[in-house]
């Protein structure tokens, strides 16, 4: 019987610990959102977008590719909330289904730049010397181009596929990640804990990846979230001019392009809804990025 007492005591104790941690966490969140209510809106939007990206095809009211010759160019109504396009396809369904593709392209591109930029930048900043010069030259050469134009060139040279859109978007964003990683690695190169790790007999590579890189990650995450909106814009811009995604596939940029010719004759809904959702997505990521940056480094608040 005695042995049961600690067990029964430990349960409320434990839950109190969890509760305390949770309420502390909730307080921090409440504080952040109270200070910047826009972040709360952005966070809610983000959750909604992720849900639509995951569940899009199953919750869309119509088949996004199903043409309907009897009902083309019909304005928004209770039947088709966002109206239908020139082939009678339901725009709401197409916008919902496109979420996964658009966010997917941007996320893969950003993760790719993150991984490559982190390793190149960390090496350059930590070792210095010729590594630094070579990596710096790569970054400068990419930055010597107007970035969207370089992306056009890459996609046209490597072939007009979605994979190459991801690659081109990753390449043009690479310099920003390299710079952040390089600076952060450079200022930590001779920090006390790094010296200590070195003196303890760790190899240089081990010090870099176990002691320096983990400390770079927070700034890199901020860079990633700041960059996400720009990556979405960029990928949508490329498909707007006819690169990457091919019709009849649903994608925001290409849907705006399809609606462009109807704008001058007054059929606004074809381009408006995908464009507005695209804008909202970019806006949401920019706000989240700003919020995250303020959290990490309040001095950079603008």
């Amino acid at each position: 019987m005695d042995s049961l007492i600690p067990a029964s005591v430990s349960t409320p104790d434990n839950s109190r610990g969890v509760n305390a941690a949770f309420s502390r966490w909730a307080r921090t969140l409440k504080h952040i959102f109270a200070e910047n209510p826009l972040s709360l809106i952005a966070a809610l939007l983000f959750v909604a977008m992720v849900i639509v990206a995951i569940a899009g095809p199953s919750i869309a009211p119509y088949d996004p590719l199903q043409t309907n010759a009897g009902d083309p160019l019909s304005p928004p109504s209770t039947k088709h909330w966002f109206g239908t396009d020139s082939l009678g396809r339901d725009i709401l369904s197409r916008v919902m289904v496109a979420t996964r593709l658009d966010l997917g392209i941007a996320l893969s591109a950003v993760l790719l730049s993150f991984a490559i930029g982190l390793s190149l930048g960390a090496f350059a900043g930590y070792f210095g010397g010729w590594t630094d010069r070579v990596v710096g030259r790569i970054a400068d050469t990419i930055m010597a181009f107007p970035l969207f134009v370089l992306a056009m060139g890459i996609v046209s040279a490597m072939g007009n596929t979605i994979g190459n859109i991801v690659l081109a978007t990753a390449i043009i964003n690479l310099p920003f990640y390299i710079r952040v990683a390089r600076t952060e690695a450079n200022i930590r190169r001779d920090a006390g804990y790094v010296e200590a790790a070195r003196l303890a007999g760790n190899s240089e590579l081990r010090v870099l990846f176990h002691h320096v890189v983990p400390n770079i990650l927070p700034s890199m995450m901020v860079q990633l979230s700041l960059n996400m909106g720009w990556a979405i814009l960029n990928a949508a811009g490329l498909s707007f001019i006819g690169l990457g995604v091919r019709p009849p596939e649903a994608e925001w940029g290409i849907m705006v392009a399809e609606g462009a010719q109807y704008i001058v004759s007054g059929e606004w809904w074809i381009a408006l809804f995908p464009g507005a959702v695209l804008m909202l997505a970019v806006f949401c990521f920019n706000l989240l990025g700003d919020g995250l940056r303020d959290l990490m480094d309040p001095r950079k608040r603008t």
Partner: protein, 337 residues
């Protein structure tokens, strides 16, 4: 001073080499056999060999690179398959249209963004500060191709204030004599006010679209830099010395605050030249961007490469100009160089 300009000129050379190397790699990165691609789908084996010979694809890479650079220097940037004209000629005839649009967009952005940024910085926390922040965040979130379409819908279809968003000039007006290639300037030189107004009306919407997009980074930077300068010691001293707030703001703070803004202009130009392509497509603007898009869609390869190279060269030159201007404005930089 000439020495400092010369140093900056030399500093642009690595970028120039980088740009040429990358465009060379891009011309060779075409998947599959470029010779077979250029010979066309119906090309026989001999034709493919002949094209290979012509393009120098059977030579070693360094040799090919040398030939590439030599051709570029001689103005041989390849031929457009669609029009049969040399790419350089095609680009040169369309460049003024693009530049006119880009510069007007930039001018609009600067005229709005800098006063907005200064007002926001002098009244932190006021409604104008919040407006500035909202504009800055919304502005960078706007896809230019979408905001352009919205403007066309509102001002052409709904209000009827703007002419139809197609091209640089109404079909019933004839283009002014070619002097600079800028319709606004050329029509003024010719003294033709009707053409000037026509060109201005066509230009307004695309220029506003471009301006809206680059306004955000400019306003943001002006505000941040102005805030920094206003809290600095020399401004405090100027205030303590009893100088008028007008003198402090414009003579002391403004000139110092503009330096970081000038550096961001480089990034702004990168945005401008990129979104220019999208805006040209939306408004059927007959510039280099539309030309490149048409070529892209038709898999016409040389014009796209020529376009990328031309834009990159233009961008290198613009950055160089910014760099030199910076040296001229800021004596501290001049002394360092």
């Amino acid at each position: 001073m000439i020495k400092s300009i010369a140093t900056r000129l030399l500093g642009a050379i690595p970028n120039l080499i980088g740009v040429i190397v990358v465009t060379f790699i891009l011309t060779r990165a075409l998947p599959g056999d470029p010779a077979a691609f250029f010979a066309g789908a119906s090309g026989s084996k001999e034709a493919v060999e002949q094209v290979r010979e012509q393009l120098g694809l059977n030579k070693s890479m360094p040799e090919q690179f040398w030939i590439y650079v030599r051709d570029l220097a001689q103005g041989d940037w390849g031929t457009s398959m669609a029009t049969g004209q040399p790419v350089v000629t095609e680009l040169a005839t369309r460049l003024p249209a693009s530049l006119e649009l880009t510069l007007c967009g930039l001018l609009l952005a600067v005229v709005v963004a800098i006063p907005l940024g200064i007002l926001a910085a002098t009244r932190p926390g006021s409604w104008i500060d919040h407006t500035c922040r909202a504009v800055a965040t919304a502005g960078v979130s706007l896809p230019t191709f979408f905001s352009g379409l919205l403007l066309a819908y509102v001002f052409y279809f709904l209000l009827g204030w703007a002419p139809s968003p197609l091209g640089r000039l109404d079909p019933y007006l004839s283009a002014p004599n070619h002097v600079t290639g800028f319709y606004l300037i050329d029509s003024l030189i010719a003294g033709d006010l009707e053409t000037f107004m026509g060109a201005l009306k066509q230009l307004a919407l695309p220029a506003i679209t471009l301006g809206l997009f680059v306004l955000a980074p400019l306003a943001r930077m002006t505000r941040a830099s102005m805030l920094g300068v206003l809290s600095s010691d020399f401004v405090r001293t100027a205030k303590a010395s009893g100088l008028s707030s007008h003198t402090i703001l414009f003579t002391y703070a403004f000139r110092n605050a503009m330096l970081p803004v000038l550096t961001t202009l480089g990034m702004v130009f990168s945005f401008l030249l990129g979104s220019n392509v999208l805006v040209e497509k939306v408004f059927a603007w007959p510039g280099v961007g539309s030309f490149a898009i048409e070529a892209l869609v038709a898999s016409d390869y040389a014009p796209v490469q020529g376009f990328v190279l031309a834009m990159a060269l233009l961008y290198v030159v613009l950055n160089l100009a910014i760099d030199i201007a910076y040296g001229l404005i800021d004596p501290r930089v001049r002394l360092d160089a």
